[in-house]
């Protein structure tokens, strides 16, 4: 399983044709093909290329939505 540093993850911001990856709970998920993650932006409040673990607490949903996406790696601790 690929290990992403936070700096590497930033490159996967979903903009200009780049893949959109988000980290949650130590895993990195590919959200590129989601209708709700177009251009790496989710609901005007969240951006791809980063660790969303703490942001999920403020979201109106749990982590079940992130866990539906394919895992492409783990986030370096």
């Amino acid at each position: 399983m690929r290990v992403f540093t936070r700096l590497e993850l930033e490159k996967y911001d979903g903009k200009n044709g780049r893949r959109a990856y988000v980290a949650y709970g130590g895993k990195v998920y590919d959200v590129t093909d989601s209708f709700l993650w177009q251009n790496g932006n989710h609901q005007a409040l969240h951006s791809a290329g980063g660790d969303l673990t703490s942001e999920i607490e403020k979201a109106p949903h749990g982590d079940e939505f992130i866990k539906r996406f394919p895992v492409v790696g783990v986030l370096e601790e």
Binding site: F35, A44, L45, A59
Partner: protein
């Protein structure tokens, strides 16, 4: 834009550009839902479909009313709708409520309907959370819409046999909560 109106929301600590973007995305969800629900509703035929046609139609019309109610607030806060309707469709806060592959599968249609409503409930809950105690007008509007979306979810959820929701079918006037914004 209404200058002091926007300024009051900014001074309350809200990122108004983000709020406006959320309102535009949810307005897109409402209008696209109105369109997709039209297709779903016309396909609710036969013995099974006939029983659900009415609630699908009420939800459809009320979601259109939600779009109408959101538009003035977007512009009050200095926002705007995209010039291109295709772009508007694609920025929707909720995925398209597409007709299932088998259009005669009423249960599948119900699942599409209930998921669309659930997305809306989450969306307006988020806006209420952001604006409570800070942007009174947007909070009032988002709460009104949320009340109707919750009722929509409850109707479809009951038809799916997920348990009692405490709601009866709406009789009489549509948009009992949002209609005050449409006058």
């Amino acid at each position: 834009m209404v200058k002091v109106t926007r300024e009051m929301v900014e001074r309350a600590g809200i990122d108004v550009d983000k709020l406006v973007e959320l309102l535009v995305k949810n307005a897109a969800a409402e209008l696209t839902t109105y369109y997709y629900y039209t297709i779903l509703r016309v396909n609710l035929i036969g013995l099974q479909g006939e029983g659900i046609k009415e609630i699908a139609e009420v939800a459809r019309i009320e979601d259109r009313n939600h779009f109408e109610a959101l538009v003035p607030r977007i512009y009050e806060l200095g926002g705007r709708l995209p010039d291109d309707m295709k772009e508007f469709h694609d920025i929707s806060a909720c995925p398209p409520a597409n007709l299932p592959k088998d259009p005669t599968d009423v249960k599948a249609i119900l699942k599409v309907l209930v998921e669309a409503e659930r997305c809306a409930v989450r969306g307006y809950t988020q806006i209420c959370n952001m604006t409570a105690g800070k942007d009174h007008r947007t909070y009032d509007l988002a709460l009104a819409i949320l009340n109707e979306e919750i009722e929509h979810e409850s109707w479809f959820s009951e038809f799916l046999g997920e348990g009692p929701s405490g709601h009866f079918m709406r009789r009489g006037e549509t948009s009992p909560f949002v209609s005050k914004f449409l006058k």
